[in-house]
Amino acid sequence: MSNSTTPPPAPPTGPGSPREVPPAPGTAANGNFPIDPSTLPPPIRDELLAADPVAIDTESDELKDGANHCPKCGATDIRQRPGTDLLICLFCRNEWHGQRVEEEFGLGEGLDALTGTVIASGARDIDDGASSLMSFKCTGCGAEVTVNTESAMTARCHWCRHVFGVNEQVSNGAVPDAVLPFHIKKDDAVARIRQFVDKRRLFALEEFKQQFTPENVVGVYLPYMIVDGRASAEIVGKGEIKTREYTQGSGDKKKTYYDADVYAVQRHVDFTVDDLPLESSGARGNHDTSANTNNIINTILPFDTRNAVKWNASYLSGYSSEKRDRDVEQLRPRLEDQLLSIARCQVEASVGRYDRGVRWERERIDVHGSRWVSMYLPVWLYSYHQPGRNGGMLHYIAVNGRTGETMGSVPVQQWKLLTAAITVGTFLEGIALWILGSM
């Protein structure tokens, strides 16, 4: 194969290059440098101790003290106006629009020239010190829930509905770069969930139907990394073109045979992707359908992430949220996997002449540049816990808070489903026997 492979494009070099397995961003600044920097000569020490460059700083000075003031009257009683991206001051009724991060930080531009790993300030490695927003570990179920302490000192866990207070804080928090406010209102979400379940009632678990109360749906901001990338992919395999088709034998012994030419096939494609969403919560990123139904939440992607606004905790008033617990380096394998899938999709049209298909055997992805922005995305979640082995199964019905796309997992009543399947099978078998008998 090696003689037919074109030389790969020169790998990107320099700091932050994916080919050099870069250290986790901010490692030196965190004091993880192998030698104590203070023992080194001053010029080197100063370099090592200097702050790491933050490519895009989405931190907002005006929110640093944790108080979100109305720009007109200075009041802090601010909420999102339902169904819009507007914030409204409940004191003076002033309304204003959050700044869109797409323009503010130039996130939609420069994809063709993206080099190295660019990490927005809110997507940096998780550290202590979130001020206005605090994360709590629920004493009821252990889930991590983020609370805007400006508007509430108590909160209700959106998983187990346990109420807990500020004294149960866990010692870190991660404020994202941007937030995409809810557009779909609760009534709309309830209607969509009802509509979804109404199409799946016949074989649904009896207890699920009895306890079905879509009004209990919870608006949750889930953490995602929104990734832009520039990559090249090389894919190598074998393809076959049919040259002849013929039949041999006669009657019942008639068989069709094919002749084909086998080709060594290779393809190369350079591409950029814009706003690929990756779950930045370890639990949500686990899509093992035998143990959870997180794939449901994954299905309602994508969001119109270009309309995301600069982080302002006021958007979270009245909503629940989950905290990010994955850093950029931990998500990189997932990014590469998805970029490879995208590349395979892109090259499919170019192998159309291989009418007997192509078997790809080896593939390579070179990520020349990636840009990571941490974002809270709005999801309406209805959950039902089905008891069973290994803690049972938590079934979700999720509604995209922007597009209204709805997906869900409805638990089935196994005996009903089996009875229906066996009945239909028996009926079909009866027809088959009747046909055989009448011959």
Partner: protein, 88 residues
């Protein structure tokens, strides 16, 4: 009718029952769903290259298979051997 045909007809019942079960189960539980990022992400790709290097290496005579063995051209998420940067 041939033996093959009769056997196929006898399998109609079990196959139909199992098929219905599987179809309904997936309709309720949606275990096969996920984000179709291959289609739903904005991808800006330069023209695909490499077709000029395709060359015939072998031929197959008299096979009964209608597709190449291990055909994965549409199975984008089926990961195959990764070529790393230090190998070609």
């Amino acid at each position: 009718m041939s033996d093959d045909g009769g056997l196929a007809l006898l399998l109609l019942g079990p196959a139909g029952g199992a098929g219905l079960y599987w179809m309904l189960y997936r309709y309720y539980r949606n275990t096969d769903k996920s984000h179709a990022f291959e289609r739903e992400t904005t991808v800006d790709a330069k023209p695909v290259t490499g077709a000029e290097h395709d060359r015939q290496v072998d031929e197959v005579k008299g096979t009964r298979e209608t597709r190449i063995k291990g055909d994965n051209v549409g199975d984008y998420r089926d990961r195959v051997e990764r070529m790393r940067n230090d190998s070609t």
